[in-house]
Amino acid sequence: MPALMHKPVTTMIAVALLGLLALVPIAAEAFDDPFMLTLFTRIVIMAIAAVSLNLILGYGGMVSFGHAAYIGIGGYTVGILAHHGVHAAWIQWPLALLMSGLTALLIGLLSLRTKGIFFIMITLALAQLVYYLGNGAYAYGGDDGLTILKRSDFGGLIDLNHRPTLYYLCWAVLVAALYLCYRTVNSRFGMVLQGAKSNDRRMATIGFPVFRYRLTAFVIAGMVCGLAGVLSAAFTDFISPAMMHWSRSGDLIVMVVLGGMGSLFGPLFGTVAFLLLEEILSSWTEYWKIVFGPILVLVVIFARGGIDGALMRGQANILMAGCAGFFLLYGVHSAYESDWLIPTAILAAAFALVWLAKWLADRRASAKEAGHV
């Protein structure tokens, strides 16, 4: 288990995060805040898509700028079938996976001969074709999108209308996707994939059919992302071309890079951080992007390798300081809205984090001293 063993901090935090995510429906019930469940359902679904992107982007070096297309393909397959009265999940879901897999195969065949920015752009171009296809599909609402009147029917086995059930299904798919990614990456197949990322010519001369390996990974990622689309359709009861717009693909890349590409749990961290920040900042001010934009720049400059990179290199102090700053803002903000208890608690937490960050920094500094003398 090489990919997991050498960074236990990340794994611990990720497992804790997954555990916390599993508690969301209970917390939503306890705090009587059903929106919490809604928010996290979306986060978990996006995390599935980000994990799938990371498989090809992080491990395979294939920067797909059209990954949102598969969300759309998955969603549209379900939506169109539902529109024609086919609600059985046993038909809808496999067909959606098949369609997104086929699309990925087609896109991969055309694009995998190119490299670098050219690969980025050709995947964008092909995804834009899919986007315009959705935009022009007036039979299915065009850009207005299509409302799905009835969710997929598992014949009474799983009730998707029951919100916690749907959430746990998404959560389970996320865990499964992570496991799949883990197994793939640590298999011989994954080794070749990663080897080809750093030097595809050498892998080819050793005798591995690099193109076929890459194509396979590309298709797997497309199918997993298509599944995210299926879940998204089930969750929002709505599909529209907007979910395939290039900016959505861009968001996915941002989530993966923010979290740390080429690390198993990076995309999970990235998605949670990205969407939570978006939700919280935008609830404070309409001008939230003026804060969010520079945060991204700072993350790139100071936390190399994203959140996961910072964790791995023991830059926990930077993360802590970041969280503390965030909590500080949050505390000051909520001081204007709610009574004294909550803001005080938040500020105390911020204080604790600052202290912890300092402690970590000191420990690191002293460890460095010791190591160098």
């Binding site: 805040d33 059903p34 929106f35 919490m36 469940l37 809604t38 928010l39 979306r42 935009n135 022009g136 007036y138 609402g141 065009g142 850009d143 207005d144 999108g145 409302t147 009147l149 929002t236 009861d237 709505f238 529209s240 907007a242 979910m243 935008s282 309409e286 001008y287 992007k289 102090n317 300081a321 503390a324 500080l328 505390g331 000051v332 001081a335 204007y336 809205e337 709610s338 009574d339 004294w340 803001p343 005080t344 500020l347 911020a350 204080f351 600052v354 960050a357 300092k358 920094a361």
Partner: protein, 398 residues
């Protein structure tokens, strides 16, 4: 983190902690019962000006009511949909689930409204559109919990078709963006226009910036009239380019939704002598309208847009239902009946709901003129359609 920056952080923290009780004090006292309204519109990005206008008008309506409906205080939560369907849906769900609002209102864009529609309806919360009026919701997907305080998409376009007949246009060229509302627009015009459509271009949506190819084709086709539908900034772009091509003086331009108080600041002279239709105008002589427009101008030093006027009506529509039910919003049937009655003074004058909860209303021809102080404004020329009901109502089984 260096030692000195750490100390600074500590100092800030300490100061904030000390200031907390002061800041928190006013929030502590909270009243018991409130009417809660969620308002979803676009408050960021290129079209934020419209969302802001809607918010301003909604706030003005609340001011006019003394921020009370039927004697009960009102609280409004505004949310930004970023013009993205899934964000709009999430914000709507937040309003329904966390803020537990009694009404949701707003919605500029059809696709945002359609994405947000089902959660609201399933939650049995009344959804009042202050702008978007897609045909699906007027027809087979109509709902007891949905009301459009604005119009049905086709109404303004059909009025253009009728206006073209009145002006004696025989050959028409149409340009609209290639998306659902653009299709509705061209079909709406064709529904009443009796002449011949000599050409029709559907432009790439949303990223086409330049209409030179279409304008050259218009020049070559030599029509009597040109009809365009380009909301917000696309309208400015088309008008600018049409004028730069020198066509404006030769071929009259007809449009709906393409000129409003926001775009007019940029279009200026370009919008003079063009033919427009709208269900509302700043100069409609009704008392409610005069009060709305007068106070809006006073407060914001600016003209309201039709988006704002519809939001003002939406606020009053909600107030009328709260008043009629004496604040008992649990009785959904009573609320619905009160909403259907639409007993409020609309800024549009005569206003009533059809069976599908879309308005039956007049559509006016409007034109741009230069005011005495050199500004630009819209004024009403004539009534093109009277007490008009949209054509989809028949498909609604309600």
């Amino acid at each position: 983190m260096t030692r000195s920056s750490f100390k600074t952080t500590l100092a800030i923290l300490a100061a904030t902690l000390a200031a907390l009780p002061l800041a928190a004090a006013p929030a502590a006292a909270q009243a018991a019962k409130k009417i809660r309204i969620g308002f979803v519109t676009t408050l960021s990005g290129p079209n934020a000006a419209y969302g802001q206008d809607m918010k301003n008008a909604f706030e003005l309506a609340l001011d006019h009511m003394g921020r009370k409906m039927g004697g009960i205080p009102v609280e409004v939560v505004y949310e930004d949909d970023e013009q993205k369907p899934e964000v709009g849906k999430q914000k709507t769900e937040k309003l329904l689930q966390r803020d537990k609002v009694d009404f949701v209102a707003g919605y500029i864009w059809s696709n945002v409204l359609l994405a947000s529609y089902k959660p609201a309806i399933e939650n049995k919360t009344f959804l009042i559109s202050a702008n978007a009026g897609p045909s699906q919701l007027a027809g087979d997907q109509c709902s007891p919990y949905f009301f459009a305080a604005s119009w049905q998409n086709d109404q303004n376009h059909m009025a253009v078709g009728e206006l073209l007949n009145q002006k004696g246009a025989k050959k028409l060229y149409m340009v609209a963006p290639n998306y659902a509302a653009g299709q509705d627009a061209t079909n709406g015009v064709k529904a009443l226009f009796k002449g011949q459509v000599v050409g029709q271009d559907m432009t790439k949506w949303p990223d086409q910036l330049d209409f030179s190819a279409e304008i050259s084709k218009i020049r070559a086709a030599r029509p009597d009239a040109v009809y365009v539908f380009f909301p917000s900034r696309w309208g400015v772009q088309f008008y600018t380019q049409y004028n730069q091509a020198g066509l404006k003086k030769d071929i009259p331009l007809y449009s709906a939704f393409t000129v409003d108080a926001v775009t007019l600041k940029l279009q200026k002279d370009l919008a003079l002598e063009t033919y427009l239709t709208m269900t509302w105008g700043t100069d409609l002589p009704y008392a409610a309208n005069q009060k709305f427009v007068g106070d809006f101008r006073k407060k914001h030093k600016d003209n309201p847009t039709f988006y704002g006027a519809q939001s003002y009506d939406a606020a009053n529509l909600i107030a009328s239902a709260v008043t009629a039910t004496r604040g008992n919003l649990k009785d959904k049937d009573a609320v619905r009946k009160a909403l259907e009655a639409a007993k409020f003074d609309s800024v549009r004058g005569p206003f009533k709901f059809g069976n599908n909860h879309f308005p039956i209303q007049n559509v006016y021809q409007q034109e741009v003129y230069k005011t005495a102080d050199g500004e630009y404004d819209l004024r009403t020329v004539s009534t093109v359609l009277t007490a008009h009901q949209d054509p989809h109502a028949a498909k609604c089984k309600m």
